[in-house]
């Protein structure tokens, strides 16, 4: 692989305000759809998907954050959908079981809270033009838009410097 093939990650100063806003918007969009779509959790996943498809063309930086926001949203939405389905089927049929429901409900609430905190951290980084990698989701998103061609800075940065996840 020659040096021409490598991609240098854009540093915060090189990223436009528009890109920063759009990247941050991906996480805000998740919050909004989470709040609005609580009764029908799968619908807000579609809203998130549309945001991602529209904004991924702006720049790889925005696409990375939008994909990370979308991917990390999926398990949370599935958990919420499970809770909603449990309640609806139980109320509709009267025969289903509540055994374990409260464990599941508390678990879902805790996962949602963790997800929100993690997303706020990511949102702040995105707003400053930084890459922030959530476990697994960050890695997959990075591989999708930069991958192994991204170059790693040679020296330890003095201030924040965008770099690939460990292992790339």
């Amino acid at each position: 692989m020659s040096m021409e093939d490598t991609v240098r990650l854009p540093q915060p100063a090189e990223i436009t305000e528009r890109e920063k806003d759009d990247a941050m918007g991906a996480y805000l969009m998740m919050f909004a759809s989470l709040a609005i779509g609580l009764p029908i959790p799968l619908l807000n996943l579609i809203a998130s998907l549309i945001y991602f498809l529209v904004n991924k063309k702006t720049s790889p930086f925005v696409a990375f954050h939008a994909l990370q926001a979308l991917l990390s949203h999926i398990p949370v939405v599935l958990l919420n959908a499970g809770a909603a389905a449990w309640v609806i089927t139980n109320l509709a049929t009267h025969t289903a079981s509540w055994a374990g429901f409260f464990w599941y409900l508390f678990f879902t609430v805790l996962v949602n809270l963790t997800y929100i905190v993690w997303s706020i951290v990511a949102l702040i980084h995105a707003n400053k033009g930084r890459f922030f990698y959530m476990p697994v989701f960050g890695r997959i998103s990075f591989a999708t838009y930069y991958g192994a061609r991204a170059s790693r800075p040679a020296r330890e940065p003095r201030a924040w410097e965008n770099k690939p996840p460990e292992g790339f």
Partner: protein, 284 residues
């Protein structure tokens, strides 16, 4: 200029696996937290309310049949009339203190044992040995009040659920090796103490129930005192107050509790000594 990166998503699997492990660990921790929260705040209610009244009602007759097979159930119109009179006084108060309690059925067992116990589904068993040691229908009402607390709070079912698990209960009701299990459950319920918390709650409940039913709230403490004095030749017969339970403490508590009520009490219209004379002679 940066140095050449050497890996990718798939070529550096270990990093991805490490992150997956972190995510998994976070989920496990959250799951355990949720479990702890659920146990802390909701578990007792989930067991007693969600295992459902139907299980309670289905289990009662099964266990009662087992008790009937191993004990002599007394069928005596005078005794039945006496307990009906006591329950007529207690029932409205029970409805106020514990709405939704099941229909109560009292079964009298001819036995020298000083005992009373509650089966699932609102069945209360009273030994004639206990009846002989009480001095009045009011005192009997005090003992029944204690047992009614176990009924209202579904203590028998909670206990069984804790001991054998809902799966065994369900299996027993749907067939399988039900007979053996029913025998074991009956034995458990006859000799049970539900633990300090439930017993104290039952004592308090009885005093409140008596006061609400316009019966002297002291009657419960008096019943405990009569049972303490019983001193049967065979101490193992004194089952209702397990020898390890601090009976003096319970009496003091019941008296203190009763002092908090000012009740214009009316005695239950049953001549207890006359009733006891009508009981069959105890077998030696």
């Amino acid at each position: 200029m940066g140095e050449q990166a050497s890996g990718g998503l798939l070529t550096r699997r270990s990093s991805l696996l490490a992150e997956l492990a972190i995510l998994l660990a976070v989920l496990v921790v959250l799951g355990l937290l949720a479990f702890a929260a659920q146990k802390l705040f909701l578990a007792p209610r989930v067991v007693t309310n969600d295992v459902s009244k139907s299980l309670d009602n289905a289990l009662g007759p099964v266990v009662l049949r087992q008790v009937e097979m191993s004990h002599t159930v007394l069928s005596n119109p005078d005794v039945d009339a006496a307990f009906a009179a006591i329950m007529d006084r207690l029932r409205p108060a029970l409805g106020q203190l514990a709405p939704g309690s099941p229909k109560i059925r009292i079964v009298v067992i001819d036995s020298r044992t000083v005992n009373a116990f509650t089966l699932p589904g609102g069945i209360i068993c009273v030994d004639t040995g206990l009846m002989r040691n009480l001095g009045s229908a009011d005192q009997m009402a005090g003992v029944l009040g204690h047992e009614l607390s176990h009924v209202a709070h579904r203590d028998p079912l909670s206990l069984l659920a804790r001991q054998v698990g809902a799966a065994a209960l369900a299996g027993m009701l749907t067939g399988g090796r039900g007979g053996d299990l029913a025998r074991a459950l009956a034995q458990t319920l006859v000799n049970v103490r539900y633990g300090r918390e439930a017993e104290d709650r039952a004592d308090d409940f009885s005093v409140r129930l008596l006061a609400k039913a316009d019966i002297s709230p002291l009657a419960f403490a008096q019943a405990l005192e009569r049972i303490r004095k019983a001193e049967p030749r065979d101490a193992s017969l004194l089952q209702w107050i397990d020898s390890h339970s601090p009976i003096d403490e319970r009496i003091a508590r019941a008296r203190q509790e009763a002092a908090g009520f000012s009740v214009e009490s009316r005695r239950i219209n049953v001549s207890w000594p006359a009733l006891i004379r009508k009981l069959p002679k105890p077998e030696e």
